[in-house]
């Protein structure tokens, strides 16, 4: 099977995507697929027409690749592709949209308020900050609505931290959100074809748990997989992840990040194209499930074909 591995691109997560893509290429080559690496750029459509792959493995992270844009093009070209479809990607990529979906489906997610820059510039949103802060309490987390890898994510421990945190978040997106901070254990659940893989617990070694560095540097963060949880907690987390998958309409594979506090799990966000690098959590989870990364990639390619109605087997 000829698989075009889409990676790189223009997003700020380009480097991570290149590493994800490289690892996927190796895995697919080992399975005997014909692998065509494609560093995504302005010539993407032309390249795809030229290469005519049987399936596209989307290993793009961040804007353009994880938000449904590349997927839309692949739909138009009639090329089966891995991971969630256009609508699910669009929902997952925007944390605010995703949270609305979660709320509507009755899945717990921390309270939040979202704004775009216009609200501050033209509607005097600053005057509502006091009420917002009173409702959400401190510390709160300020994030760009879109974008992954914790870029632009800041903790605001006090009132005075809020303007700078907002400004940082606005550097990455025109819309930002303030979210209630939920103290709890940081968990992530990889899903393959709608089924939860073993839960990963993230134990940052450093104070700042939104440390972008720690996510990609070996040895900076400890991971436990499967997470050491009471059965009831593990079940609740798994169920929340599966419910989230359904609520957003995911397909193929995805990863759900949650926090587990005393009242139970709360869903933070969904990654439509989770990292697949050597230090990424999704591969860690498949391995813990006894599934080699290579075979997981093979399965993901198969699922892409199934959705497209074409049997993609060797």
């Amino acid at each position: 099977v000829r698989v075009a591995v889409l990676k790189g691109g223009r997003s700020l997560e380009r480097q991570v995507s290149l590493r994800s893509g490289a690892r996927v290429e190796d895995a697919l080559a080992e399975l005997g697929h014909e692998v065509v690496p494609v560093d995504v750029g302005a010539d993407l459509v032309r390249r795809l027409k030229q290469v005519r792959p049987d399936v596209a493995f989307v290993a793009l992270h961040g804007s353009g690749g994880e938000d449904g844009t590349a997927q839309e093009l692949l739909e138009i070209l009639g090329i089966p592709y891995t991971g969630p479809g256009v609508a699910a990607c669009a929902r997952a990529a925007d944390k605010v949209v995703a949270k609305h979906e979660l709320r509507a489906a009755g899945i717990p997610t921390p309270d939040w308020v979202a704004f775009n820059a216009t609200a501050f510039r033209e509607l005097g949103a600053a005057d509502a900050l006091e009420e917002i802060e009173a409702q959400l309490g401190f510390p709160l987390v300020v994030k760009p609505a879109r974008g992954g890898s914790a870029l632009g994510v800041r903790f605001a421990a006090r009132r005075d931290d809020v303007p700078e945190a907002l400004l940082a978040a606005f550097s990455y997106d025109d819309r930002v959100m303030l979210e209630r901070h939920v103290p709890g254990r940081e968990l992530t659940v990889g899903l393959l074809d709608g089924e939860a893989l073993p839960i990963v617990e993230v134990l940052p070694k450093e104070e700042d748990r939104f440390n972008y560095e720690a996510r990609y540097e070996i040895g900076r963060t400890d991971y436990v997989c499967p997470a050491n949880l009471a059965d009831a907690d593990a079940d609740a987390v798994g169920e929340a992840a599966v419910a989230t998958w359904r609520a957003l309409g995911c397909e193929g594979f995805a990863r759900v990040d949650l926090l587990l506090g005393p009242p139970g799990p709360e869903v933070i966000e969904v990654n439509a194209v989770p990292g697949l690098t050597d230090t990424s959590l999704f591969p860690m989870a498949t391995e813990a499930a006894g599934l080699r990364f290579e075979d997981a990639c093979g399965r993901i390619v198969e699922l892409a074909g199934r959705r497209a109605g074409a049997a993609i087997t060797r």
Binding site: G8, R10, L12, E13, R14, Q15, V16, L18, A22, R23, E25, D26, A27, A29, E30, G32, E34, V35, V36, P37, V38, D39, R47, Q50, V51, A117, F120, R121, G124, A126, D127, L129, S149, L151, G152, V162, P163, E164, L166, L167, A168, F170, S171, Y172, Y212, E213, R215, Y216, E217, I218, G219, R220, D278, T279, S280, P283, M284, E287, F293, E294
Partner: protein, 461 residues
């Protein structure tokens, strides 16, 4: 990074070459992680590294690099010099050379140093693979884990990982528009002495400093050399830009003032000839040199012989000073274009240095702006700079940025600064509306007269 292969033969097939063998699992990598030396925990910001990777896109006007303009070096001269080497000295030029470097190379170095009034003994000179290796060799020679090393705040971003990789405790001394604050240096030395400590050396770029663009004043130069003598401390003078002066009177290098007892001198041809040839040097007294030579032997045996032959041919033509003079003309115009654009496009809250030479200037924004985040925003408008935090070891400098004016032409510089100015103005206004400090007037891009004068460079200390 592998690229898309058009022909089937380029596509990776099942017969993978060794370098393409399947990746190891995350668990295997954790196993390596246990083996890594403590010094590999240098780890600079990955966020910044990922952002910097995006600055390489062709559509981005990058004021982030530190690149000299090599396009003005005449290809015909290059061809003639290399041809002469091939015809007359092929076997020698392809052979190993002495660790210290060839005598002929040292004669060229002597010419360059003489242009700034220095006359080192050739035996005190070692030719290195770029100035960067000279920094590395100095650190390798002197620094044990935990040793204190002093440098400027901000300092050359490329020096930080060197010091960190030898596990130095890097202490930074504030600067102002006259360079390193030597009064603060003395206070720091006193503090260290009180704790029974002595820094292994004081690293400084006294002329047209990277990244700040400032120059250590004559008075402070004398004082710094005197401090070194009084306290028997080493100063490492890194002087890549000394000959690239666009205005004002040349100042004596520290090495000249000291005579080479307490000042180690680092030089390079990167900015006055080519960074691609990787030719630098270190001047140090014999006892130090002995250790440095051993260090270099362990690292790479010798500096590229071919490079040294090329340098000798180039200097033999006797026109190197003309070439430097031509670079000065080009870079002066670019600096002026940048200063002019800054005055027109940056909001009044911004300040920047006014370098008399070199390749960089340093702009400081209101402290609520984080330039790493700002870079992400600027990249959406296809313009890049170096976030200030890269020049500090402790996360400071987050509201400053380094701007390079040697690597882009004047049109690019003006357009790049216009875009940066727009982004800053937008963020400043947004901050105003968030905090309710209402509508901090945006600078009118069309109004040069009112757009903000050049504000003298003052660092808060």
């Amino acid at each position: 990074v592998r690229e898309l292969g058009d022909s089937p033969s380029e596509r990776p097939g099942p017969d993978l070459p060794a370098h393409r063998r399947p990746h190891t699992s995350a668990r295997d990598l954790e196993r390596y992680a246990d083996l890594f030396a403590a010094r590999t925990r240098v780890m600079r910001s990955s966020a910044m590294r990922d952002l910097m990777a995006v600055t390489a896109r062709p559509e981005v006007i990058s004021l982030a690099g530190g690149l000299p303009d090599t396009s003005t070096f005449p290809p015909s001269s290059f061809a003639a010099q290399m041809t002469r080497i091939a015809q007359e000295s092929s076997a020698q030029a392809l052979q190993y050379g002495p660790t210290e470097g060839f005598a002929r190379t040292k004669e060229c170095i002597a010419e360059v140093m003489a242009a700034e009034g220095m006359r080192p003994d050739p035996d005190d000179v070692i030719v290195t693979t770029g100035g960067q290796q000279a920094i590395d060799l100095v650190a390798k020679t002197f620094v044990d884990p935990g040793d204190a090393v002093i440098c400027e705040a901000p300092t050359y971003p490329g020096a930080v990982p060197v010091f960190t990789s030898y596990q130095a405790e890097t202490i930074q001394i504030a600067i102002d528009d006259d360079g390193m604050r030597v009064d603060e240096l003395e206070a720091t030395l006193d503090r260290l002495a009180a704790a029974g400590r002595r820094p292994k050396f004081i690293y400084t770029v006294p002329s047209f400093q990277n990244p700040a663009g400032v120059t250590l004043s004559a008075e402070r130069r004398r004082r710094l050399v005197a401090i070194a003598r009084e306290r028997e401390l080493l100063v490492v003078e890194d002087n890549p830009y000394g000959l690239l002066r666009y205005e004002g009177e040349p100042l004596d290098p520290l090495y000249k003032l000291d005579g080479g007892d307490y000042v180690l001198y680092l030089g390079t041809l990167s900015k006055i000839l080519s960074p691609g040839i990787r030719l630098g040097w270190l001047v140090a007294p014999p006892p130090v040199m002995e250790k440095v030579v051993l260090g270099k032997q362990a690292t790479d045996l010798c500096t590229s012989t071919l490079t040294q032959y090329f340098v000798a041919e180039y200097f033999a033509e006797g026109r190197w000073r003309e070439y430097v003079a031509s670079l000065i003309e080009i870079y002066r115009s670019r600096r002026d274009a940048m200063l002019d654009a800054l005055a027109r496009h940056l909001p009044p809250q911004a300040r920047w240095s006014r370098p008399e030479g070199g390749l960089f200037l340093w702009a400081t924004l209101p402290d609520y702006l984080d330039t790493t985040d700002l870079l992400a925003r600027a990249l959406r408008d296809n313009v890049a700079f170096v976030p200030g935090a890269a020049a500090y070891v402790d996360g400071a400098g987050s509201s400053s940025m380094r701007l390079n004016f040697s690597g882009s032409n004047e049109d690019e510089i003006v357009e790049g600064i216009r875009r940066i100015g727009e982004v800053i103005t937008e963020q400043v206004a947004l901050y105003g509306s968030i905090t309710g400090e209402h509508r901090i007037a945006a600078a009118d891009p069309g109004d040069a007269a009112e757009g903000g004068d050049v504000v003298p460079f003052r660092r808060a200390t």
